[in-house]
Symmetry: D2
Subunit: 425 residues, 4 copies
C-alpha cells in the first residue's frame, strides 16, 4: 500500500515542529551542525520487524484475534512497507523459517515487493522449538541438544535450509534461539547437553557463507521451566567464543532473570567484541514481549548509552536491531510504531548525553553529577529531533496519528477480510 | 478400566514394607496407635484432579502431543479412576466449563462412571479467559472487569451456568480465576476495574446455592503482563470479605511473585478463616505448573505444617485440595501420580512434627531447636506410612511401578488411538 | 544557615527559564491559568526529610563517612533548612526516637530553629529494631510480636513516649515500622505473632491523641530473612482495618518483592481509604534506599498518576510524603535535592496527564492511545514548571547548582569539622 | 577446649544407630562395601569455617550481641576446634585479613593451636570493601576498579600481604571478593572498570606462589545497588580465563539473582575446569547468609549431584568448601553445626544417587524416572551414614545434642565473659 499525502499531513504540524526543534537547540545549547549530526545518526538507524509480529499474538491461555492481518509473506512485507513509509526506521524484515518458507518461484515477487518499499532482509530465524506437520522426528526433548544424533541432524539440516533461504533474499545472518532445556531436575545432563549444542552449532557455523554471522540468543526459562541449555550471556559467550569470530551473542531484553543489569551485560559484550545486537521489547515479569519502552524507558536509555559509547569507541561496530514483541491486545502495526518510536527516543536521548563531561565526573567520583548528566539528557524532550529525522526521510511527523487518520487498518480489513490468521505463534 | 492384581502386586513388596514401617515406628519412637492415627489422616486425604490436566499441556510456543489421551469427559473420569485405584488419594475430579459441559442426557452416564470409581465432583471452574466459538462478546479486554456491562453480564451468566452444571454432578463450590487485567499502564483504571469485579462477583455470589462456596484465586501476572485485577492474596481477601462467608481465597502455589513466603499467607488466611484451599503445583520461575514437589519440596512441607496446625486448632476446618499442573513433557498420569505422592509425603512429614515441642522452642526463642524439630520430621523417610495408607485402602504399594509394569498407557493407546487431543488448554 | 543571593542567582537563568516556560505552555497547548494551577499544586507539595538521612549511611559491610555532617538535631534542622530554602519543597522533618529524643529544655530551641526555616514536624518514628544502651530487655527476637509480654510492654511504652515527643513538637502521626519477624522456619508461629502485634498496636492506637494517625509500614524481608510479621500491604491493611480509622498503610517504595505493581497497591489503598502516604526512594534489587527516581522514574510517574487521580476524586485526601533513603556514597544534601526534584517532576508529569482523555480510551479499550496519553505527559520536559513553582516561593532555579556554587558543604565542614557521626544508622 | 566423653556420649546411641545403619543398607539394597565406600567419602570431606562467622553477625539495622564469643584468632581456632571435635568435618579455618592479621611472634602459637585440633588453614580472604583505621586512601569508590591508580596499588599491595600472611600459616589460595561497583547509573564506566579490575588482578595473580590458586567471587549486588563489577559467573569466568589456570570462579550460594539455576552454573564451570569451590549458605531473598539447608535443601542436593558427577568424571577435581554465613540470631557454633550437617546430608544423598540408571533415563528421555531416581535418593534418610562417618572419626553421634548437654557455650562464657565483640562484621 502506497501511502498518500504524507507531506501534506506533515504540513499541518510544520510550525509547531519548527518551534520545537528551535527550542531544543536553544535549550540544549547546541549548534545547527550538532543537531544535524544527531539527526543524521537517527536517520541511518533501522530496526528490523519480525515477520511473526505482524499478526496478533497470544499466550498459552489463548489468543484473541485481530483483524485485517497479513495472511502470507507478501502481505507481511506490505505491512512493514506501511511502517517504513510512516517512520522511515523500519526498513528491514526478519524472516522465520518455516513460517516464511519461500518456493523458488516466489522469491522474485517477494524481493520485488520488498525492494518497492526499500525493505531489506535482516537475520533469518530458525525454529526448532515446535514440531512442524510431517516432521519425522520430534523436538519434544530438544533439538541441537537432543540425546539422539538423528534429531540433532534434523535440526542442523533445518538450520542449513534456513541459511539457504536467507541467501535467496540477501540476509547476512542466522539467529539461533534454542528452547532446548529441561523442565525437571535430572532430565538433562547439563554438561553433555551443552557439549552437544556446541558440536551441533559448529556444524551449522561451518556451513555459514563467508560474509554471514551467527547470532546466539540466551534465555533463562520458558518454554522449559527448570533449565535452558543456553541460559545466560555467559553460556552464549562460551559458545560464540568457541565457534569463532562469526558467532556472537544476541541480547533479547526479555530474556533475563529479575533485576538483571542488562546494560552492564551489553557493555561487557561490546568490550569483548561479541555483541551481535538486540531483540527489543519490554517486560515487567518475564519474557512478556510488551511494546518497547512501555514499562522501563530509563533502562532502555541506559542500554542505548552503552551502545552510543560503544559506537563512539569503535565506529566499525555493527549491530543488529530487531523488535521481538508479541501484540496480544493492540493492533500489531500500532504497537510496532510505538516500539520503534520508543527505540528512536532512547537513542536520541543517548545521543544527547555529554560523554566527555560524564567521563570527568567518573574520574572525579562525582556520583551526583554523573547522575545529573544522564538525567539531563533523559529528561529532555527529544521527540522533535526524532520527528525531524523522520520528516527528512519522507516519513510522517506523527506516524500513529497518520495511521489512524487515514484509517490504514480499516483499509487492510477491507482488502484482507476481518479474520485472517497469520502464520506464526 | 478396572485394575487387576493390585493385591498380588503389593504382595511382592510386603516384607520390605513391613520392615520399613517397623523401622519408622522405632526410629520415630511412636506407638502403633500413633502410627495408625497418622495413617488414618492420610487415608482421608483426597486431592482432586482437574479434568484439563489429563492431556498433554503446552506453552505459547507450542505443544508436543502425548498418546492415548482422553477425548471426552467419560474418558477423563476413567483416567482419574486409574489414578484413584492406584493411590486411593485421587477420589475427585474438578470440571471446567465449557470444556466439560454436559448435556442433560449425559449426566447420568457421567455420574455412574464416576461413582463406579468412587470419584466425587470437586469445585467447578469457569472460563472467561478465552473466547469460545460462537460467543457473542469477546473477553479480549476482560470479563467481570470489562467496561461494558454487556460483557460482564455474559461472564456472570456463564458463571451461573457453571454453578448449574456443578449442581447436576454434586459439586459444592465454584472456583473463579479471572485473567482480567491489563498489559499496559493506562489500559485499566485500577479502582474501577476492582469495583466492577466486586459488583459482578456479588451477582454470582448471590446465585450460589445455600451449601456452596466461592473460591477466588489471585495471580500477579499472565496472561496479562502489567497488572491483574485480583493480583495478590490481599485483593482476593478484600473481595471475599466484602462478599460474605461463602467466599474464600484460593491459593495456587504458582501464583506469586519471586520469593514470596507462601506459608505465611496460608497461616494468615487460616487465621482469618478465609482460606479456601489449594491448587498444587511447583515452579521455579513463574506459574510454571510443574509436578508438585519437583523443585521446592521443603516449601511444600512448610505449607503443610501450617495446614496441620490449622486443622489441629480448628478440626472443622475444611479445605479444597486440587492439583493444577501442566504436563508438557511427561505422561500426564505419571506426572499426577508423582504430584499426589509428593503431596502425601509433605502431609505425612507435617504430621510427624512435634508441635508441642515446637511451641516450646518458640516460647524460649530457641531458634536452633525450632529448626531441628522441623528438619527432623522433614528428613524422616515417610514413604512407608504413605504406602501403608494406600495399601489399607486397596491401592498399590508403588503406583508408578504398577502403572509401568501393567502397561496402562499402552492399554489406553490401544483403546483410544495414538493422538487424541483432549479438550482444554 | 541563611542562604544569600538566591534571587540574583536566579536572575542569571531568568531569560532561559521564561523561554522554557513559554515553550511548555505552547507545546502543551495550555493556558496561563492552567499553568498557574499546576504551579500552585506543586507549590503546596511538601516532602518531609527524615532526620536520619542527613548523614552518610552504610551497609552491613561498612560505612564510608562523609564530611561536615550534622551532629545533633539542631544541626539536622539546619540542614533541612538549607534544603527548604533551596527547593521550597522540603518544609518538614521527620524525627526518629530515640535518636532525636529531646529534653524538656531543648524543645523551645528546636521549635524555634524549625520555625525560622518554616519547617514543620512530620510523622515521628519509633525504633524497636535495635537495642539501645541501657535498655532492659532485648528486641533480638522481636518487639510487638515478642512471646514475652514484658518485651512487648517495653516496646509499647516506647511508642507512647514517641507519641509524647511528637506532641511536644507538633507532629500529628506515628509511623510504625516493625522489623519483627523470623529468619528461620519454625522460629515464629505466624498466626500468634500477628495476633500479638495486633494486640500491641491496639494499645498504642488507644494512646493516640484525637487528631493523630498511625502509619503502618510493611516490608517483605530484611533484617529478618525468612518472614516479616507485617510483610505486605494485605497484612498492614488487615491491621489498619482492625485498629480503626486512624490507622493506615504506609507504602515504602523499596519494601516489595521483585516486580510488584506498586501503583496498583496504591490505587487499592486509596480506594479503601487506607493509604497513609509514602516513603520515597528507588531500588533495583531490594530495599536499596537509593535516590528517588534514579532507576525507575516511569514507575514513579505511574504512582503519581494514581495519587493525582485519587486527589481529584477526593480533594480531602491527605497523604504523608517522606523521603526514606540511605546516602552511602553521595553527599546526603545533594542526594536529597535530587530526590525531591525527581518527586516534583513525577508529580508535575502526572499533573500533565489528560485524565479525561485517558478515561475515554479506557472506555473504548483503546490500549494504544491510553499508552500514548501517559507517555505524552511523561516525555514532556516539565522541569520549567517545577522550577517556576520553586522560584515563586523564593527557592533557587537550580538548587544543586546553587549548592555547589556557594560551596555549602564546604561551609558546613568549616563549621562542624570534617568527621562528625550523625546519630542514626 | 578438649571435649570429653564423646565415646561414652555416643555409646548411649549405639544400638539405635546400628539399627538405623542396618536399615539403610537393607532399604537401599547396598552391600557393606558400598556403604563403607560412601562413609569413606564422607569422612574425607572437610568444610572450612570462616574466622568471621564465629561471632554474632548483624545487618545494617543493627546487631544483637551473643555471649562468650571469641575475641581473637586463638579463640576462634578454639571454636573451630570444638566444631571439628564434634563433627570431624570442620578441619579448616579460613582467615580474613586484616581482621586476623598475625604478627611474626604470634604465628607459632597460632599454628600450634590449629595443629592441636587438626585444623588446616584454608583460603585467605582479602578485605577491600571497608576502610581500616589509618588507611591512607579510601575504598569508598572502589578498590581494584578505582579510577585512581594509587588506590588500586594500595589494594593490590594489601592482597599481596594477604598472600604473605597465608603463606605463613600454610594456606594455598586467595579468595577475592570485590564489592567494587556502582550504586547509580553513570557512576562507573562498565568497560573501563572491568579492565582496571583485570589489570589489577593480574598483578596479584603474578604474585601468587607456584602452588597457589586465586578464587574469584561474583555477586550481583550489595553493598553496591546498581552494579557490581564482577556481577555474575560469566564475568568471573572471563577474568579467570584471562588470568590463567591458577584463577578460578568461586560460587557463593547467596550471590545470585532470584530463581537462578545454580546447579547449572556449577556444571558449566566444572565442564570448563574453572570451578574453584563454594561458599555455602542459604537464602530466600538475597545474600541472606542463613544456615545452609535451612530453606532450599533440595537445591543443595542438586548442586551436590553435579559435584559428585564432576568428581566421578574427574577424580583429580579438587574443590574448596567453606561456610560463609552470618549468625545473627542463633549461637554461631550451633548454627555452623547445623550448616555442616546439612552439607554432609546433601553430599550423602548425592552419593546415594544411581547415576548409571539416571544416565539411562536421560538417554531414553524418561523424564518421570529421572525425577524418581533423584527423589528416591533425596527422600532417603541418610542421617545414619553421616553419623557413622563422624563416629568412625571420633566425632559425636549428635554434635548439637552434645554441645547443649555438655554446656559448651556456658563454659565459653565463663572463660571469656558475656560480651566480647569478635573482630569482623
Amino acid at each position: 500500500m502506497q501511502l498518500k499525502d504524507i507531506n501534506s499531513f506533515n504540513e499541518s504540524y510544520r510550525l509547531q515542529h519548527l518551534k520545537a526543534l528551535d527550542y531544543l537547540k536553544v535549550s540544549r545549547n547546541i549548534t545547527d551542525d550538532q543537531l544535524l549530526d544527531i539527526v543524521q545518526q537517527l536517520k541511518t538507524f533501522q530496526v528490523a520487524i519480525p515477520s511473526w509480529a505482524l499478526g496478533t499474538g497470544g499466550t498459552r491461555f489463548g489468543r484473541f484475534s485481530g483483524a485485517g492481518e497479513p495472511g502470507d509473506l507478501q502481505q507481511k512485507i506490505q505491512d512493514v512497507g506501511i511502517l517504513h513509509q510512516l517512520n522511515r526506521s523500519s526498513g528491514a524484515i526478519s524472516l522465520h523459517i518455516p513460517w516464511d518458507t519461500l518456493s523458488e518461484d516466489e522469491i522474485q515477487t517477494i524481493r520485488e515487493e520488498a525492494a518497492q518499499y526499500e525493505i531489506l532482509f535482516d537475520a533469518v530465524n530458525s525454529n526448532t522449538f515446535q514440531d512442524q506437520e510431517g516432521q519425522s522426528l520430534s523436538y519434544k526433548f530438544g533439538s541441537l541438544c537432543h540425546v539422539d544424533k538423528a534429531v540433532r541432524n534434523q535440526a542442523i539440516a533445518h538450520m542449513k535450509e534456513v541459511i539457504d533461504q536467507g541467501q535467496l533474499v540477501g540476509s547476512k545472518s542466522l539467529t539461533v534461539w534454542l528452547s532446548d532445556g529441561a523442565s525437571f531436575p535430572g532430565q538433562l545432563d547439563f554438561k553433555e547437553a551443552l557439549q552437544r549444542v556446541e558440536e551441533s552449532l559448529r556444524e551449522v557455523y561451518d556451513y555459514l557463507p563467508e560474509d554471514w554471522q551467527m547470532f546466539i540468543e540466551y534465555k533463562p526459562y520458558e518454554p522449559n521451566f527448570y533449565s535452558t541449555v543456553i541460559s545466560d550471556w555467559g553460556t552464549s559467550y562460551l559458545l560464540a567464543e568457541s565457534l569463532g569470530p562469526k558467532a556472537k551473542t544476541l541480547v533479547d531484553l526479555g530474556h533475563h532473570l529479575p533485576n538483571t543489569n542488562i546494560e552492564q551485560i551489553v557493555a561487557t559484550l561490546i568490550y569483548k567484541n561479541k555483541l551481535a545486537g538486540f531483540h527489543f521489547n519490554d517486560s515487567k515479569y518475564g519474557d512478556d514481549d510488551l511494546t518497547v519502552g512501555a514499562l522501563k524507558p530509563y533502562q532502555l536509555f541506559l542500554i542505548f548509552c552503552e551502545l552510543v559509547k560503544g559506537m563512539k569507541d569503535n565506529p566499525s561496530l555493527s549491530l543488529a536491531w530487531m523488535i521481538d514483541a508479541s501484540h496480544n491486545i493492540k493492533d500489531p502495526l500500532e504497537d510496532i510504531l510505538q516500539s520503534v518510536e520508543a527505540i528512536m527516543l532512547a537513542y536520541a536521548q543517548a545521543l544527547m548525553v555529554d560523554y566527555k563531561a560524564l567521563k570527568e565526573t567518573q574520574l572525579a567520583n562525582d556520583v551526583t553529577y554523573a547522575q545529573e548528566i544522564l538525567q539531563d539528557a533523559y529528561r529532555t524532550d527529544v521527540r522533535p529531533v526524532v520527528a525531524e529525522a523522520r520528516i527528512q526521510e519522507g516519513g510522517a511527523y506523527d506516524p500513529l496519528q497518520y495511521y489512524r487518520q487515514y484509517q490504514l487498518r480499516e483499509q487492510l480489513i477491507e482488502k484482507r477480510g476481518l479474520y485472517v490468521k497469520a502464520s506464526g505463534l
